[in-house]
């Protein structure tokens, strides 16, 4: 497997599965353990779901761009859609009492829970989310950024 792959995907559920399986393979090759592989794959799946459903809204004219890259000690996965854009600060907290029993709204929470760093960027139009996981754990300066 190469150290960097990129795919242009349709706005379909098949693309979500493709993103998930690709991430799992990259995570395995990068040296993450089985639990970490599962968590990374789920984070990427959730990012792809957001891109297909909420970003591109299943629009067949819009694409999802997936880039997986690994360095010696880091896995970097970027998922980009062509939707209206997402402000992560406006996403409700799914753990708050008023949201706890809602049937949706946990995707970004799970992404943040499973990755070391999560970055959002508005691509006008669209949203790019970068998911970073370090082999051996999170560095002290890891943080979430929005640009």
């Amino acid at each position: 497997m190469r150290n960097r792959v990129s795919y242009t995907l349709d706005s379909t559920l098949d693309s979500v599965n493709k993103a998930e399986s690709t991430a799992a393979q990259f995570a395995a090759r990068a040296g993450f353990n089985a639990d970490e592989q599962d968590n990374i794959a789920m984070a990427v799946r959730e990012a792809a779901v957001n891109a297909v459903l909420h970003g591109n809204a299943h629009d067949p004219a819009k694409k999802v761009f997936l880039v997986c890259e690994r360095t010696v000690d880091t896995l970097i996965i970027t998922v980009t859609d062509q939707g209206k854009g997402l402000d992560p600060s406006c996403v409700p907290d799914p753990l708050s009492p008023e949201n706890l029993m809602k049937g949706s709204g946990r995707g970004i929470f799970l992404i943040r829970a499973f990755m070391d760093e999560v970055r959002f960027r508005n691509t006008h139009p669209g949203t790019e989310i970068t998911l970073i996981k370090h082999v051996g754990g999170k560095p002290a300066n890891a943080k979430e950024e929005t640009t």
């Binding site: 779901v49 706890l100 049937g103 946990r106 799970l110």
Partner: protein
């Protein structure tokens, strides 16, 4: 994802296997619960022992199922969580929302 139902002392046990994810898995869960409620079966035990994976959509579907059953005066409980599902319910703070069992006989007996 597959779901099959059986009756045990007035409780409907739903044996689920595979992945509960956006798309087919979540739809099967939703349809199963809807069918049971439509038939008046309101004591439901979801056996998740063979569920290998749940995503946020699947978690949301479990919450919706719980709420639907409760709103009709019934009870929905979970049985045999795998570690992955257990951990997911922990981090989403749903572990204490659901009544979670690890023994089927005791679980069936716990319904009112």
């Amino acid at each position: 994802m597959k779901a099959s139902t059986r009756q045990v002392n007035g409780v409907t046990v739903v044996d689920m296997s595979g992945r509960i994810t956006l798309g087919e898995g979540s739809v099967i869960l939703r349809d199963t619960i809807r069918d049971l409620l439509g038939k008046g079966q309101k004591k439901i035990l979801l056996n998740l022992g063979d569920v290998t994976y749940i995503d946020s959509s699947g978690i949301g579907e479990l919450v919706s199922a719980f709420t639907s059953v409760r709103n009709q005066g019934g009870e929905l409980k979970l049985l045999n969580l795998t570690k992955k599902v257990h951990d997911l319910l922990q981090i989403t703070k749903l572990y204490t929302v659901f009544d979670i069992k690890d023994d089927e006989t005791a679980a069936v007996g716990s319904f009112k």
